[in-house]
Amino acid sequence: MNTIIGAQEGFFVLIGLFLIGALGSLALYRNAVLANIWSFFFAMIGSLWGIAFSLLCLQAPYALEIEALLSHSPLLSLSFTIDKLSGFFLFTISLIALFCSLYGMGYARQFFGRYNLGTLGFFYNIFICGMMLVVSSSNSVLFLFAWELMSLASYFLVIYEHKEESNVRAGFRYFIMMHIGTAFVVFAFLLLFKFTGSFSFASIGEQIALVPALAQSIIFFCALIGFGMKAGIIPLHTWLPAAHPAAPSFVSALMSGVMIKTGIYMMIRVFLDMFSAIPEWWGLVVLAVGAISSLLGVLYALNEHDLKRLLAYHSIENIGIILLGLGSAMTFLSFDMPELAVIGIIAALFHTLNHATFKSLLFLSAGSVISQTHTRNIEELGGIAKRMPATAFLFLIGAMAISALPPLNGFFSEWLTFQTLFQGVSSLDAISKWLFLLSAGSLALTSGLAIACFVKAFGVTFLARPRSHEAEHAAESSFSLIFSMGLLAGMIMLLGIFAGTIASFLREIANALINSSSVPQVFNSSFEGIHIGGFAEVSSLGIAGVLAGSILVIAMMVKYGVKRNQKVSIGSTWDCGVDLTSRMEITGTGFSRSLILIFKGILKPTKQTGIEYSDADSRYLPKVRTIAFGLADVYKEYIENPVYNLLVSISEWTKRFQGGNLNAYIMYIFVALLIVLIASLL
């Protein structure tokens, strides 16, 4: 059985299952119910197969290499390599796809009659298939094909609900930025081809020494910008908060949970696998990018009152945290300390897995709230915890995980990231030391702000009184939605409790990536704990046990220790004599306004007031006063608008050549011929 699933055929079966799901769903486009069941069923079967396949590949001592040459031209060889890194990412994709598909089957029922489910199923399966091809391809051209497939499929999913104007605009912005990023990636791969003469990842890795230093730096920046745009680093992130809320919730979960991680995967592949001796400043640049992204991501998230935009900004923050781990690993490798680099890689990979799980859970539960209340604005929600208790509990688990609260999984990956930064502070030279220290400071600030942001998100959405009619009449979602979210929450708790075991698996992957299995190990982990030299240690089981034990002990003591004749009566909130309406609760904007004003140098908050008078001529009695709080959009002002204006001005200037004058065109041809003649004589 193992050999069947784990062999080359297993990979083609995996791709085939998703393709069957896609094409079948398209064929069934007239019948919404059947298309729904067909597409998500095959997505689930494919994901289960993918989990089994990737686990088997992770166990295998060698990488699985698949070559299917369609022609003798080097441009069209289909070659896949599934080594441990690819296997890990395949596992993550399959895991999240499984839960999202289970959720999607129930969620997509709201599209019956409004949109075509056949196309949803088609693009959904192609999207997952594209992601799997991206992480397993080992040839640049094939990779670019798969990358484009993934981007296009996700574009069509973003604009799926095309009757909303904002979704179409968001999709357009996503499309443009994706292709700008892909252009940078193409340029990087072309440069690599020029110097190493090959498109295959393996041979590029072997001949990387042929690339001169300047070209290496250009490739580094192009790869960072191109893959970073997909991952969502600041300042290239502006598509993320537009596109992720526009897609259906289970697609947002997949996009935020795994698609942006493919950018991380390629960064690891290019910087750690292809390049063997990297200069020191590369790791420091990635570290700085990670620190800035995480801090700014969470600050922008604090300002948001659209639930899905808030979660999208948190994805940017977590990508920053992953990049902190990756940057420190790159720095340690450049200083020739592979035993410390291992910690950084484990931190980055663990956070990738963790973020995929808890971000998906958050998006899925947000999706079920939004589908019940038909609004994404948290200022119109409230009191959902009493009306949808299961969803509220699951969102709370996700919120606790993303805020890095023990004993859930987010805590351990953040602990590992901190530890790798601390190792850098104690072991590196002067400049790197200070960069690592400041990054650790920004990570501490980020995690504190993330807790604040999720108190706001959970509190304003789920607690207190409902602020609108729809929130008051929300009902609990259907079973498949709750079941899939519950499975994800269970996964989060398992990952948290078995953090040590997971870290030891990841250590195998890191060893395979940077060939460090023979180096004396600073990092040791097992079921009972993670140890880093003599510097730090943590035990996931211990923390979970102590926390659960203390809470149980105090609950028992209070319930049974004190005399049991106290009654609990239900009254109304103490309101000091005024009538408490839902307008008197804290709003999301008010909750975070203090923090935004504290950081006003970075965030540039704006305030606009408006007033409408009862009688416009004699302006004495105002009828309505409005006040709008916002943030100035620095990216639009300083990056997008200047680039746009530059392009437009260049176009305007070149427009002059197309005057419509036939004589001028003939002169152009003549001048061009003359130049070519002269050039060929020289």
């Binding site: 103490w574 309101d575 004599g577 005024v578």
Partner: protein, 177 residues
């Protein structure tokens, strides 16, 4: 800051040394000791009072605030003034309960957990006092909440409030046995 410390340590315990003050102090202390004994017995050593101003002219409030000054210092006997009715054992209602504060007083009463005691402090709270029969008042706290005890006076001096509090606790003790 150091000037402040110097002042703290060099100020004598009382500013005006009159023989009467000593005897009053002794009386406060004596009443307070007995009060402390009853509080320990009936309220497990801690009595939390929430003062509800139901449209009062602040005369009673000033006397109640005086209970916390260094002379009377009612905190040393175990009595605490708390901010929220949820934290309170005893509600001290002051003022003749104006029509605008009727609802607020009722809500404060319902917000207080059992066991609770309601004391009407001052003639205004007992039966309307000098505002009796006015169109704007409800003539005393009895109209809105069930009042258990009265402390008469317009306003009662802090010593009176302490003595009456002691009497109240003695009555509660008798009722229990």
């Amino acid at each position: 800051m150091f000037g402040l410390f110097f002042k703290v340590f060099s100020t004598p315990d009382y500013v005006v040394s009159v023989a009467d003050i000593k005897s009053e102090e002794a009386e406060v202390f004596e009443v307070g000791q007995k009060l402390e004994k009853y509080i320990k017995k009936l309220f497990k050593g801690s009595l939390a009072i929430r003062e509800v101003d139901a449209g009062s002219d602040n005369s009673v409030e000033q006397e109640l605030v005086a209970l916390s000054n260094p002379f009377y210092d009612v905190e040393r006997f175990g009595v605490r003034f708390v901010a929220s009715p949820r934290h309170a054992d005893m509600l001290m209602v002051t003022g003749p309960v104006t029509r605008n504060m009727k609802e607020a007083l009722k809500r404060a009463y319902h917000a207080t957990p059992n066991p609770k005691i309601v004391v009407a402090v001052g003639d205004d709270a007992i039966n309307g006092g000098i505002y009796k029969h006015s169109y704007a008042v409800e003539d005393g706290a009895e109209s809105t909440v069930p009042v258990d005890y009265h402390i008469p006076g317009d306003p009662p001096s802090p010593m009176t409030i302490l003595r009456h509090l002691l009497l109240i606790l003695e009555v509660i003790d008798e009722k229990k046995t």
